[in-house]
Amino acid sequence: MSYAAGQYDVLVIGAGHAGCEAALAAARMGCETLLLTINLDMVAFMPCNPSIGGPAKGHVVREIDALGGEMGRNIDKTYIQMRMLNTGKGPAVHALRAQADKFEYQHMMKKTIEETPRLTLRQGMAEELIVEDGVCVGVITKTGAKYRAKSVVVTTGTYLRGKVIMGELIYESGPNNQQPSLRLSQSLKENGFELVRFKTGTPPRVHKDSIDFSKMEIQPGDDKPKFFSFETEYANNEQLPCWLTYTSEDTHRIINDNLHRAPMFSGVIEGTGPRYCPSIEDKIVRFADKPKHQIFLEPEGKNTSEYYVQGLSTSMPEDVQLGILRSIPGLEKVEMMRTGYAIEYDAVVPTQLWPSLETKVLPGLFTAGQINGTSGYEEAAGQGVIAGINAARKVQGKDPVIVERSQGYIGVLIDDLVTKGTNEPYRLLTSRAEYRLLLRHDNADLRLTPTGYEIGLISEERYAKFLEKKSLVEGELARLRTVKIRPEEAEAMLREFNSTPLQNTIDALTLLRRPEISYAQVEPFAPAPNELSEDMKEQVEIQVKYAGYIEKQQLQVERLGKMEKKKIPDDINYSLVHGLASEAKQKLGTIRPLNIGQASRIAGVTPADISILLVHLDHYSRTRAARSS
């Protein structure tokens, strides 16, 4: 039946956005790595919108890049539009968003994987975990191949017992009519995992030649595109626009007339869907007073006529979908190429994981991406790179890498998942980060490149460049403080920018603090001796202008950081801690937080419980110290 198919350091199941990052990270860190996927043509596939980035998500892509991951480089090579969002707001929430050529994106990622040393890419469906002495040591595939590995990373996306729903039609399937993975769920359950059922969906795709763009508003990319990766210095891809239109009264009438055929309301859907990405029928029911909803048409690539209809995610029957599409201005004669659908799948309750993404239930097994209850390519990739790093470090006998909440959105994401769990597919939002001002996309490299370098995922060459940028920025900040500007010097410029005239001579740094004055205005009075790139100038300006706010958050980080550093011994038995409320005992016992900071974020653990825990830990360590001396 089965045969021994090979021994690896790290085995990754699933080659979506999480799996690709995990496999690449592990192989680049020196581990013999196998990447298994049900269909080799689906590597890094984008089953939903052909875009990457945006608020919080774009930040994650830059963090992945700083840790030595691939997503940033890959989208920089394959974008068909780049747009910086939120430019009218503070620098912390500026967000880069790219439209991808989804086919090129896949091919480029597959090529990178194929060319990476120590990484083997193979088609195969994992069906059963091999567990020895309570440790996961490999998997058996549908074809009977037995792969053994020291660490196993499972990234199954929406494939686990996937079920596609379109109106009355329901069938077992992965995304985009792929084969679902029907057996692995059972193996996870048998090994003690608690699973939940989640739901997501995608809109129909339409043919470009059947769209009347004259009735829509054009949304072009930026003239001077910025990039995700620190390594991308220049790329000048041809950019394609997106198009904006709206639903009509007819659209709403068609949906209301057919609600009885909507699986959302007829009760066939058992999975929990995300509130932030509701289907069009859901939006029309919940926000009945809204007269129209925005629809974006996004090109899926340069060599395809398919357009993605953003805003129209639906699980209505096919005939209703066509009616809905044709009720939208500009889509009156549209040809539907793929029907939209809802998909249900199994996910692991993420509180069963350590912050390293190794499971508590089964040592040696890591999970990342949608299987952990998230949604989004970027969220998946962010977890993938961490799972890959920690799977490799486990093989190498090193401590796991954990990104703190104050260090990155990846840290916020993973901490939220493993500490609080989630009742719906989890999407990152900038509002989930308490230190939003510190977690800017412009400083993702400053925050995480040192970590990436330390674990061996950032090259010497790149690290040297990074250090140079860092020192130039710091040098410029120090220099600006020493450059004096006299009132008469700056008079004309200040008048031009409606800024109050100077009373006394001040330094350039102080002048730059004024909201209406930018680096470009200060520069003529204080010419820099070094040639600074635009990025560096931006960095200087941000650090000066928002210094007050940034320092306030930094202070908070330091204050709470003490709680993060206070470790909880892993052999603690909460049921024996005198005085803890029973709810706290139960929650702490399940989550098993690594430190006091994490403990204090668990729902149901009160400040009094934390005080008691502190007293207990102090008692514990003092008693131990007394015993050993």
């Binding site: 919108n49 608020p55 919080a56 969002l85 939120n86 009218g88 707001k89 503070g90 620098p91 912390a92 929430v93 967000a95 509130r275 932030y276 990405c277 509701p278 289907s279 859901d282 939006k283 919940r286 926000f287 909803h293 925005q294 974006f296 953003q310 805003g311 995610s313 609080k420 939002l429 900038t430 509002s431 989930r432 939003r436 001002l437 909201p515 928002y546 706010y549 306030k552 958050q553 204050r559 003490k562 709680m563 206070k566 005198h578 005085g579 409320a581 729902a603 009160t606 400040p607 009094a608 005080s611 008691i612 502190l614 007293v615 207990h616 102090d618 008692h619 003092r622 008693t623 007394a626």
Partner: protein, 460 residues
């Protein structure tokens, strides 16, 4: 060191006795108090373990509020092993409270959590290892009790007003967040005038709350004491005697007190929040029925019950029922109308509530009031009644949190005027929302996310 925040609280038990001590512990203790103390020698220059005489001043008005003796004890030679300042206040309860409020207005200073001084003393190695369990018990019991008090307050008027205030702020926050996280959605762009208006009306609401607090109308404290009994046994007369002013209507017609009347009195230094209730009896009158129901809920709420019985009448069925309900409660039995012949079977009453004190009185002839005061005082000093100090501390905390929320909103308004981007203004609005949340005991982060998705239609 884990603890770097500076904390303050009243360290002495409430009650009679003129002196109250306000204890402040942490790195900012000396400079903070020095900032509000007018004295010959600056407190920052005072040697450790010395006493400085001076006046606590209200920095805003420059007015001297209280004459105080301030002791400085530098760490580690102090109770908590941190820098400790103790302010001795002689003016009794009201003065202590006023001083604590001023102390808590200092930046970087917050009110101590239940048992926190002791916790710090332990964690800093000042308390013997063997006492760990006792320290834990103290934290547990103090925080459980303050939790009970907080729950009680959550139903009150203050809480409702704060919740409404928070709701308006969370709507504003959700709107800001949607602008940030969904920049391309057709959601109205947040403007500076919108932020200014929202913050402005929230500030106005806080100002009103603080004003009422200063006048003592809402944030008043005391042992909740309900006066109960059948109609016309003399409940309102007793209340009047206690407050010495006529607020409840006193007539000879049974059932004239149809609502619960609240009064605040201090008996021998013990603060009481007195509730006069409608007479409890079976009734068909709709208005009176409502009054009776309110009386029952006042009975539920009260920590101390003054059950008034008429000596001149035999025990009524309603009264027997009431006695049954009051077992295991703190009750003082008042046998009123000692000027009239005894028709009441006092023995039966005594058997029904064997643990309760009995005070014979004639409210009309002003007899027995002193005995009642004595009975209340005994209960208080035996430790049977103690909810009051918790309410008391939490009120000082409320005032300081309200001030801080107002400061944060003012920051938001001025930042908006300076053209600071909305995602930074959001920090101040969010701080205000969280500070108000601490008053009503709710700081969950998830509800902002909930609000975003219920207020706006978003999605792909």
């Amino acid at each position: 060191m884990l603890m770097q925040e500076t904390i303050a609280a009243i360290a002495t038990a409430l009650g009679e006795g003129g002196i109250a001590i306000i204890r402040v512990s942490g790195p900012q203790a000396v400079p903070s108090i020095s900032g509000i103390l007018k004295s010959r020698q600056k407190l920052t220059e005072a040697a450790s373990h010395t006493v400085t005489y001076g006046h606590i001043v209200d920095v805003d008005s420059g007015e001297a509020i209280e004459e105080v003796l301030v002791t400085v004890m530098k760490g580690p030679r102090s109770f908590t092993a941190e820098d400790v300042v103790e302010i001795g206040v002689h003016g009794g309860l009201i003065a202590a409270r006023k001083v604590l409020e001023l102390v808590l207005r200092q930046p970087d200073l917050r009110v101590a959590e239940p048992g926190e001084f002791t916790k710090r003393a332990f964690l800093n190695g000042r308390i013997d290892l063997a006492q760990a369990e006792a320290v834990i018990d103290l934290i547990r019991s103090k925080s459980d009790r303050s939790h009970t008090v907080a729950l009680k307050q959550a139903e009150g008027t203050l809480s409702k007003r704060i919740q409404a205030l928070r709701h308006s702020l969370i709507e504003l926050l959700a709107h800001i967040e949607v602008n940030i996280d969904y920049p391309e959605h057709d959601v109205e762009e947040m403007t500076s005038s919108y932020i200014k208006d929202s913050c402005g009306s929230a500030l106005e609401a806080i100002r009103k709350l603080l004003q009422t607090a200063a006048e003592g109308k809402i944030l008043r404290e005391g042992i909740t004491t309900a006066i109960v009994g059948r109609p016309n046994v003399g409940k309102s007369s007793l209340l009047n005697a206690l407050v010495q002013e006529s607020k409840a209507i006193v007539t000879d017609i049974p059932g004239t007190t149809r609502d619960v009347i609240e009064e605040y009195v201090t008996l021998s230094g013990i603060p009481l929040r007195l509730l006069d209730t409608a007479g409890i009896r079976e009734t068909t009158d709709v208005v009176e029925k409502i009054g009776v129901e309110r009386s029952y809920s006042a009975v539920e709420e009260a920590e101390l019950l003054l059950l008034v019985l008429n000596r001149n009448e035999p025990l009524h069925g309603d009264e027997r029922e009431l006695l049954g309900k009051l077992a295991n409660r703190q009750v003082i039995l008042i046998i009123n109308k000692t000027d009239l012949p005894e028709r009441l079977d006092v023995e039966e009453v005594r058997t029904a509530l064997p643990n309760s004190r009995i005070v014979p009185m004639s409210v009309l002839q002003e007899q027995g009031l002193e005995d009642l005061e004595q009975a209340i005082r005994e209960l208080f000093f035996e430790g049977q009644l103690e909810g009051a100090d918790l309410t008391y501390v939490s009120n000082a905390r409320h005032i300081s949190l309200l001030h801080r929320a107002a400061d944060a909103l003012n920051d938001a308004v001025s930042a908006t005027a300076d053209g600071i981007p909305i995602d930074m203004v959001q920090l101040d609005v969010r701080a205000a929302w969280e500070l108000l949340g601490e008053i009503v005991g709710d700081t969950a982060g998830e509800s902002l996310i909930d609000q975003i998705f219920s207020q706006f239609c978003l999605g792909k």
